[in-house]
Amino acid sequence: MSKLFAKKLLEDVVTMTSNAGTSHVGGCLSCLDIISVLFSQIINIDKKNLKFKDRDRFILSKGHTAAIVYSALANLGFYPKKWLSTFIQDGTKLPGHIDHKVPGVEFSTGSLGHGLSVGLGMAISMKRNKIKSKAYVLLSDGEMNTGSTWESIMFAGHHKVDNLIAIVDKNKIQSFGETKDIINLDPLDEKWSSFGWNTYDIDGHNHVEIKRALRSAKKFTGKPSVIICNTIKGKGIKDFEGKLISHYRPPSKEQLNDILSKS
């Protein structure tokens, strides 16, 4: 199920970024499998009742990869799929960084380092109000440079906010180089763990591992959980895989046709 969904996401995201001639396809593709499993099998949201109390809250803190979430929501029927062809066009409902005015989107981000705090606030309130759902926040590994994210990690760990689940798309490349060369945070799981988090370190393209970790995190009590997903930036476009250029260059028509021809 999530594999089929992933295929749709791949086609959409490559089409959207190629046609719009815009950046950030690399980060969309690195978290494609995570989004696919989350949206097709894990999170509880309802296109007919967007703000129902018991829904899971999902925040894309790496807001520059909005296209992947727009695609997921369109494929789930939150709005017509034809909206996707308006991505970043004049007057669009779908800006390049994720926006809360889009049906199904909880929160706008775009500046890194905001999402985890907001998810934390939601999780605290949900717990107080005995809402059983979870707050999921997807972060990038470059985002782990931000002090505000570590402020949230410290606070959530200290207060044992166990309905908060962070997911790190560890694609190892940030805007201007490799994360290990800019600020090496490895071993990342040990850092989160030392701040009081329950940690998972998995292959972020393996749907079985993603599902298993998410289901385990959902059940885990006493600590917030983080799933560190080891991923490949630009995964699915051969010339982009593991390359910095995938952060900037839109897929060419040839690359787009190649993806579509495999469908």
Binding site: H100, E106, F107, S108, T109, G110, S111, G113, H114, L116, S117, V118, G119, L120, G121, M122, A123, I124, S125, M126, R128, N129, A135, G147, S148, E151, S152, M154, F155
Partner: protein, 305 residues
């Protein structure tokens, strides 16, 4: 004013259970009454203001009314992007409460001078800025704050401010008249009102009428009233304990220039050239010419012309 704010908040919470107070590790001997009555609705977020604003936003998204508390610059500059993107863009019911607005921490040095906060906050979308002059104006603002479900900034001083009113303020709108409109008028914002009242009294004792109005609410909502007032007068002296650049005086000037017949505005505030001077609030007000003597001097010049 700080204590009155907490007193009001505690009272308000008697009927509500969805009010949260977050502090950036400040509020010793001020916030305790709230903590005692509402322990589960209080969080010391630590010295981590960016996370404090983000968490406040998350709580507000869940339908809560949230107050954050810190010293002026830590409450605003340190986490400005979180206030902009998280609170204001999402139009959330969060009140950023700052103490030390202006120069009450004048002896502590430039890091503690809250003199640019109004400029950087009032330009944000959906935001209303409240700058009470004393505990009576605080009550006046608090009534509005509890009804306002959009982003708010409440700028307090340090505590122990003198009363400038003798009874509850009853007025429609956001403008409070102290002396009727005259040829020359003072428009005051915040605790500096005490100096403005003394200045106005000085001229009254000489038989010269100087109009005086306090404007504790800076927001688009105040504009119609201010437009009406400005269009009825000729000369207005604005005074604030804040940099002249972008503050209350700028707000009034922006309204004036949009009038068919713009009025004369003389803006008094913290001077850019002396922004980093250190000393007591009284001393710094005098240096910046925003104490009674400074204001008298400005108005005397206008009278002579």
């Amino acid at each position: 004013m700080r204590n009155r704010f907490v007193h009001n908040l505690v009272k308000y919470c008697e009927k509500k259970n969805n009010v949260y107070l977050l502090t950036g590790d400040l509020g010793f001997s001020v916030l305790e009454p709230f903590i005692e009555k509402n322990p589960k609705n209080f969080f010391n977020m630590g010295v981590a203001e960016q996370n404090m604003i983000g968490v406040a936003s998350g709580l507000a998204l869940e339908g809560n009314k949230v107050f954050t508390y810190s010293i002026s610059n830590f409450a605003t500059s340190r986490c400005h992007e979180q206030i902009r993107n998280d609170i204001c863009y999402h139009n959330l019911d969060v009140t950023v409460v700052a103490v030390g607005g202006g120069l009450p921490y004048g002896t502590h040095g430039y890091t503690h001078h809250g003199i640019e906060d109004i400029t950087i906050i009032r330009c944000l979308p959906n935001m209303t800025v409240y700058v009470p002059a004393d505990r009576f104006e605080l009550e006046f603002c608090f009534d509005k704050i509890i009804r306002n479900k959009s982003p708010k900034y409440l700028r307090l001083a340090k505590g122990g401010e003198s009363d400038l009113y003798t009874k509850k303020i009853v007025t429609k709108g956001n403008l409070i008249e102290h002396q009727k409109l005259s040829e020359i008028n003072i428009l005051s914002c915040g605790t500096i009102l005490g100096e403005a009242i003394e200045c106005s009294n000085h001229f009254e004792n000489k038989g010269i009428k100087v109009g005086l109005f306090s404007c504790p609410v800076i927001s688009p909502d105040s504009i119609p009233e201010l437009k009406k007032l400005l269009s009825q007068g000729k000369t207005f002296v604005t005074v604030e304990e804040h940099k002249k650049l972008g503050g209350f005086g700028s707000f009034i000037s922006e309204i004036s220039v949009a009038l068919k017949n713009p009025v004369r505005i003389i803006s008094c505030g913290v001077l850019s050239e002396g922004y980093n001077l250190v000393g007591s609030q009284k001393y710094l007000r005098s240096l910046h010419g925003i104490d009674k003597a400074g204001l008298v001097k400005v108005i005397n010049k206008l009278i002579k012309k």
